[in-house]
C-alpha cells in the first residue's frame, strides 16, 4: 500500500507548547522577520517581507478550514477586506485610535463569520466552496454601493492619522512589526489548534465527517468555530494593511486572486501542516518574483498559480512538506 505522503500527523499531543522544539522554531522565524530588515535599515526588504507576512497569515488561517477540516474556502479574502474596511471606517469617520479600530474589526468579522458559518457550513464540499465565493461577492457588491463606506470609490485616510505612531516613516515600521506579530499569532494559533482536542475533531471531520459525527464530534459547532477563528487574524491583518495603505476600495479589498494565492501557498507547502505554510509562502514568493521579472510572464500571475496548484494536486498532494516527510520521516518529530 502506497505510503501516505503526509504520513500520520501528530495530533492530540496536548497544548504543551513551550517544551516542544517547534514552538521555538516558530519563534526563530519571527525573530528573523523582525531582525532582518532592522539590520541595515532595509526598507525594501521590509516591504517584501511585509507581503510575506500577509500571505503567511492568510494561508495559515485558511489551513484551519482547508487542511484540517477539509473545507475549501475560496472566498477567505472577505475576512481580510472586511477587517480593513471596518478599521479604516472607524479611524476616518469615527476618529478611533488604531488599536481599538483594529481589535473591533477583528472581533466583528469573527462574529459575522460565526453567524454566516452556521448557515453555509450546512453545505457540503463543492457547494460550500462556491458559497464562500458568493459571500465575498455579496459583501463586495454591498460595500460598492454603501455610501458611508465610500461606495466603489473607496475610503481615504489622512496622513495625520500616522502621527500617534510617531510620523509616517516610523509608522511604517510599527505596522510592519504589528503584522509580524499577527503572522506569529497565526502560526502559533494553527499549531496550537492542531495539537488540541479541537484540532483532533477538525481533522476527524476532514477525514470522514459522517464517521466523526457518529463518534461524537460536534461537527456543526466545530466547523462554525473553525470558520470564525480562521477569520480573526486575517481581519486584523487587513485592518493593519489597509491602514498602512491609507486607502481602501472594494476591488482591492475583496480581490479573490489574493485568497486563491493563499490557497496555492497552503497546498504548495503541504495542507494541514504549519511549517508548510511558511515554506510554501517563501517558495511562492521567490517563484513569482523570478517569473514576474521576465516580460513574457508578467501578465500570467494566475496562470503560474494555477499550474502550480494543478501540479501539486496531481502529483504532490502532500505538498513540499509531504515530500520532505517522505524522504526524512524523522523530521515529523520536530516539525508540524
Amino acid at each position: 500500500m502506497r505510503a501516505d505522503p503526509l504520513g500520520a500527523p501528530q495530533l492530540a499531543t496536548g497544548v504543551v507548547l513551550f517544551r516542544r522544539p517547534f514552538f521555538w522554531i516558530i519563534a526563530a522565524v519571527i525573530a528573523v522577520f523582525i531582525a532582518a530588515p532592522l539590520w541595515g535599515n532595509d526598507v525594501q526588504l521590509r516591504e517584501s517581507l511585509l507581503l510575506a507576512t500577509v500571505y503567511i497569515t492568510l494561508a495559515s488561517n485558511l489551513n484551519i478550514m482547508l487542511g484540517y477540516a477539509g473545507y475549501v474556502n475560496f472566498g477567505s479574502i472577505v475576512f481580510f477586506g472586511l477587517g480593513g474596511y471596518i478599521c479604516v471606517y472607524l479611524m476616518s469617520a469615527q476618529a478611533w485610535p488604531l488599536a481599538a479600530a483594529t481589535l473591533v474589526a477583528g472581533i466583528a468579522v469573527s462574529v459575522l463569520a460565526y453567524v454566516f458559518g452556521i448557515g453555509i457550513l450546512r453545505l457540503r464540499g463543492p457547494f460550500f466552496a462556491l458559497s464562500t465565493i458568493g459571500v465575498n461577492e455579496a459583501v463586495k457588491a454591498f460595500v460598492s454601493t454603501f455610501e458611508p463606506w465610500g461606495g466603489s470609490a473607496g475610503l481615504y485616510l489622512s496622513s495625520e492619522l500616522f502621527q500617534p505612531l510617531g510620523g509616517p516613516r516610523q509608522a511604517l515600521w510599527v505596522i510592519y512589526f504589528l503584522l509580524v506579530a499577527v503572522m506569529g499569532c497565526s502560526l502559533y494559533l494553527s499549531y496550537g489548534i492542531k495539537v488540541s482536542k479541537f484540532g483532533l475533531g477538525l481533522f476527524a471531520i476532514g477525514q470522514n465527517e459522517d464517521a466523526a459525527s457518529v463518534l461524537g464530534v460536534p461537527t456543526r459547532r466545530y466547523k462554525a468555530l473553525a470558520y470564525s477563528v480562521s477569520a480573526f487574524l486575517p481581519a486584523l491583518a487587513g485592518a493593519l494593511y489597509f491602514f498602512k495603505s491609507a486607502f481602501i476600495q472594494p476591488s482591492d479589498a475583496f480581490d479573490l486572486s489574493l485568497s486563491t494565492e493563499a490557497m496555492v501557498i497552503a497546498m504548495l507547502g503541504g495542507q494541514g501542516t504549519v511549517t508548510g505554510v511558511a515554506v510554501g509562502a517563501y517558495f511562492y514568493e521567490e517563484l513569482r518574483g523570478w517569473l514576474l521579472t521576465s516580460e513574457t510572464f508578467s501578465n500570467f500571475q494566475l496562470v503560474i498559480a494555477g499550474t502550480l496548484l494543478l501540479v501539486i494536486v496531481l502529483f504532490l498532494p502532500g505538498g513540499l512538506m509531504g515530500w520532505l516527510y517522505e524522504r526524512w520521516p524523522r523530521l515529523k518529530r520536530v516539525l508540524e
Binding site: A8, A212, L215, G216
Partner: protein
Amino acid sequence: MTALLDVQGISKSFGGVRAVHGLSFAVGAGEILGVIGPNGAGKSTLFNLINGVFAPDEGRVVFRGSDITGEIPYRVARAGMARTHQIVQPLERMTVLENCTVGACFGRENLGLSRAREAAREAAVFVGLGDRLDLPAAQLTIAGKKRLELARALSARPMLLLLDEVLAGLNPTEVEHMIGIIRRIREGGVTIIMIEHLMQAIMSLSDRIVVLNSGQKLTEGAPADVARDPAVIEAYLGDPALAAKLHAGA
C-alpha cells in the same frame, strides 16, 4: 427490568420503499441482543435510526430514560452510545491511537486529551492493536481495521455498543478472537446489540435474538427458540444455505 434502550414502533421509508415498519423491542442493561434477518431486512437501517443518522418517520427511541428520537448522531454518542459500521470507516490518515483518541475525546465522558489518550491506548490494547498504535489507519489489514472500528467505539466508554457485522470478512481465527473480545466487553458491563450473519457466532453470544424480515420484527426470544421457529426458517428459505446454518446452529 428497566430497559437501557427502548425502541417503540419506529418506521422509516425512503422514497416509497418501506425500510423499517412498526419495529419495537427493548434491550436490558448488560444484555447481548442479536439482530438477524435475511438481506434487506432493514438491520443496518435500524442501527441508523437508533443512533441518529436518520430520523424515524414514526415511533420513538428511548435511551437511558431519555427520548433521543431523531437526535443528531453526535448527541447520541455523547449520551453513551457507540457504534461500528458494516463497511469500516477508519479515519485513514490518522494513526490507530489518534483514531481511538477521537472516540475517547468525544464520547460519553468527554475526556480531556491526556486522559483520552490513556483510554484510547487501553481500548486499542484490549482489541489487540497495541503493537500498531502509531500506524496510519489506512495501512491496517481488513481485520485490523475491524478491530480499530471496535476499539474506537470502545474508547468512548459507551453504555450501549451497536456492532454492525463486526465479524464479516474475518477468517476463523480472527472470528474466534473477536468473539472472545465481545464476551469480555460484556463482562466489563457494556450492553451490546449486534447484527450478524455468522449464525453460530451470534447464536452462541446472544442472550436474546430479534429476527427482522422486510423491515418488520418477525419474532424475538432465546436463540434456541428462534432457531426452531418455523416462521424464521421460512423467512430464511429464500436463502437455503443460511436456513441450514440456522437449523444447525441452534
